[in-house]
C-alpha cells in the first residue's frame, strides 16, 4: 500500500485528498438527504439507517398543504417565465440590433438588480408593496421573483442575438425574405440556445426563491421553499428530506435535459459584460 502511494507521487496524493474533501463538502449534504428520505428508523449513533422504506413519502404526499404548495410553485414559476420571456426577449433583441436613444443607460440599468444586497432590496420592496397594497398578492410574488431573473433574462439573449451574424440575415433579406421571416427563420433559431438557457434558469430561480416570497407572500402564498421553512422546524428530518427531493427533482430533470446548453461561458454572460 505504502509502495503504491510512493509510486503515485506526492502531487497526486494531495490532489486526491483535496478532491475528496471537495466531494464530501459539496455532495455530503445532498447524499445525506437522499439517505434520510428512504430511512424509516435511524437512531443515534448508527452510521446507516436500521430500517429502509417509503414510509415518509406516503406521509408527505398525504399532506394537503404540501401538495398544494407544489402546484402553486409551478404556477408561479410558469407565470414568471412566460412574463419575463414576453418582456425581456424583445428588449434583448432591441439591445442587440436596434439603435435608439439612451440605449446604454437602459442596458446598464439592469445591472442595478445585482448592485444591491438582496435582502435589503426585498425589504425595501416590501415597504413599497405594503403602501400600494401588493403584500400577500400573486402579482406581488411574481414581481419579486422577476428581480432576480430580469438581468440574465435580458443579457444572455442579448449576447445570443449579437452572436448571430448580420451577413446571414442580410443575405436572407437579399433573396426577398421579409424582416419578420428573417427573424423567425434565421435570427430566432440561432439565438435559441441562449434563450432556452435563460428561460430554464428563470424557471428554476423562481421555483427556488424563498426569501422574497417569505417577506411579501406570507400568509397566503406558501410556495415549496416556504413550506420547507416550516417543515424544518415542525416535522422529523426524514419528512424534510423527502420534500427536499421533491423540490430538487424539477431542477435535476431540467438540467439533464439542457445539459449541453449550460456552460460557464453562457451563464457568466448573464452577470457581466464579456
Amino acid at each position: 500500500m505504502l509502495w503504491y502511494w510512493k509510486h503515485v507521487g506526492r502531487r497526486r496524493i494531495i490532489e486526491f485528498a483535496l478532491l475528496t474533501v471537495f466531494a464530501i463538502f459539496f455532495a455530503g449534504p445532498l447524499v445525506n438527504l437522499l439517505v434520510l428520505a428512504f430511512s424509516e428508523k435511524w437512531n443515534y449513533p448508527n452510521v446507516l439507517p436500521q430500517q429502509w422504506g417509503f414510509k415518509w413519502w406516503t406521509f408527505v404526499l398525504a399532506k394537503d398543504d404540501i401538495v398544494s404548495s407544489i402546484s402553486l410553485s409551478f404556477l408561479i414559476a410558469t407565470l414568471v417565465t412566460v412574463l419575463s420571456i414576453v418582456v425581456c426577449i424583445p428588449a434583448a433583441y432591441a439591445f442587440a440590433r436596434l439603435q435608439f436613444p439612451l440605449k446604454r443607460m437602459f442596458l446598464f440599468s439592469f445591472l442595478l438588480t445585482n448592485a444591491f444586497p438582496k435582502m435589503g432590496l426585498y425589504v425595501s420592496i416590501a415597504v413599497l408593496f405594503y403602501k400600494i397594497g401588493l403584500m400577500n398578492t400573486l402579482l406581488g410574488v411574481v414581481l419579486i421573483h422577476m428581480i432576480n431573473v430580469l438581468m440574465f433574462m435580458t443579457w444572455i439573449p442579448t449576447a445570443a442575438f449579437r452572436n448571430v451574424h448580420r451577413a446571414q440575415e442580410e443575405s436572407a433579406r437579399d433573396v426577398g425574405a421579409s424582416p419578420f421571416k428573417v427573424f423567425r427563420s434565421i435570427t430566432l433559431p440561432m439565438a435559441m440556445p441562449g434563450i432556452v438557457v435563460a428561460s430554464i434558469f428563470t424557471f428554476l430561480n423562481s421555483l427556488d426563491e424563498a426569501q422574497g416570497t417569505f417577506l411579501v407572500g406570507i400568509p397566503d402564498y406558501k410556495t415549496m421553499p416556504i413550506v420547507m421553512y416550516s417543515i424544518i422546524s415542525d416535522f422529523p428530518s426524514s419528512a424534510g428530506a423527502v420534500f427536499s427531493i421533491i423540490l430538487t427533482l424539477p431542477t435535476i430533470i431540467l438540467l439533464v435535459a439542457a445539459q449541453r446548453l449550460v456552460s460557464a461561458d453562457v451563464l457568466a454572460s448573464g452577470f457581466q459584460m464579456k
Partner: protein, 292 residues
C-alpha cells in the same frame, strides 16, 4: 430634380431612424418599468422612509439607533466579520480551483468540470437543510467521526455554520465566473511565458491575475453582496444573537412591524455595499465601451 430626390431620401432615412428609435424604446420600456417598480422606486422610497422619526419629522434617528443599540451594533459587526471571512475563503478556493481546471487535463478534471456547477442549481433551502442534517449535533458526520473517536465541534447554530453554508453557495458561482475569465486567456501566452522559463508564481502575478482581475473584482462584489444580503442560511442555521443583517431586517419588518426601522437597516446594507456596487456598474460600462 436631383436635389428633390436627395431631400426625399434624407427625409426617408430620418423617418426610418425615428421609427427604429420608437420601436427600440417600445421594446425596452416594459422591462424597464418592472425594474423601476422593483428596484429604483423601492430604494428611493426606503431612503426617504428611513429618515422619518417617530414624531413625523425628518432626522437621522433611525440610523443613530443602528449604532447606539447594543444588539444592532453586534449584528452589524457580526455580519461584517462573517462577510470578510467568507470572501477570503471563497476567493482563495475558487481561484485555485479555476486555475487547476484551466491548466490541467485528465479524467479527474473533466469530472470536476462537469459537476462543479451543480450546487448553483440546488435550492438554497435544501442545501441548508442538508448541511444542518450533515453537520448538526448527532448529524451524519458526527456519527461517522464517532466511529474513529473524534468529536465534532458545534457548527450548526453558530458562526461556523453560516460561513460553511455561504462557502457552499458561493464557491461554485465564483469558480464559474473565474473559469470563464481564465478560458479567455490564450494558451499561447501561457505557453510562451513557460518557454522562456517563467516560474509558476510569476506566471500568476504577471500574466494570469492581470488578465483576469476585472472578473476577480466582479466575483468579490457578488460574494460580498451575496453574504451581506443572505437570509435563508443564517435564518435556519444562525444563532438567535448575534444575527446577520438579512435576518435582523426581516424580523424588524415582519415580526416587530417597524417598517421605517427596517427601511433604515436595508438602506444601511446598501451603503455597506455601495462602493462595490458602483464599481460593478462602472467596470461593466467601461467594458462595453471598449467593445463598441
Amino acid at each position: 430634380m436631383n436635389a428633390v430626390s436627395t431631400r426625399k431620401a434624407a427625409g426617408k432615412t430620418w423617418s426610418k431612424e425615428t421609427r427604429q428609435s420608437m420601436l427600440g424604446l417600445a421594446m425596452v420600456l416594459p422591462s424597464f418599468a418592472i425594474l423601476l417598480l422593483t428596484v429604483i422606486i423601492p430604494i428611493f422610497q426606503s431612503f426617504i422612509m428611513s429618515l422619518t422619526n417617530d414624531s413625523g419629522g425628518y432626522d437621522l434617528s433611525r440610523y443613530a439607533y443602528l449604532f447606539t443599540d447594543k444588539g444592532m451594533r453586534g449584528n452589524i459587526l457580526f455580519t461584517l466579520r462573517v462577510t470578510a471571512i467568507t470572501c477570503m475563503l471563497v476567493l482563495l478556493v475558487s481561484y485555485s480551483l479555476a486555475i487547476y481546471m484551466r491548466f490541467n487535463q485528465g479524467p479527474v478534471v473533466d469530472l470536476i468540470r462537469r459537476t462543479y456547477m451543480i450546487p448553483l442549481f440546488i435550492p438554497g433551502v435544501i442545501a441548508t437543510y442538508g448541511l444542518i442534517n450533515l453537520l448538526g449535533n448527532h448529524g451524519w458526520l458526527s456519527r461517522m467521526l464517532e466511529v474513529i473517536g473524534v468529536e465534532l465541534p458545534r457548527i450548526i447554530f453558530d458562526e461556523k455554520g453560516i460561513i460553511i453554508a455561504n462557502l457552499w453557495f458561493n464557491i461554485p458561482f465564483t469558480t464559474m465566473l473565474l473559469s470563464s475569465a481564465l478560458s479567455a486567456i490564450p494558451s499561447s501566452v501561457i505557453e510562451s511565458a513557460k518557454d522562456v522559463g517563467v516560474g509558476r508564481l510569476t506566471l500568476f502575478t504577471k500574466f494570469i491575475f492581470p488578465l483576469s482581475y476585472k472578473t476577480f473584482l466582479v466575483a468579490v462584489t457578488f460574494v460580498f453582496m451575496g453574504v451581506i444580503g443572505s437570509f435563508t442560511a443564517p435564518f435556519l442555521i444562525g444563532a438567535n444573537s448575534p444575527q446577520m443583517l438579512g435576518v435582523s431586517m426581516q424580523q424588524v419588518f415582519s415580526v416587530f412591524q417597524e417598517r421605517e426601522q427596517a427601511a433604515a437597516i436595508a438602506f444601511f446594507s446598501f451603503l455597506l455595499c455601495s462602493v462595490l456596487g458602483a464599481f460593478y456598474i462602472r467596470s461593466m460600462a467601461v467594458e462595453e465601451k471598449d467593445k463598441i
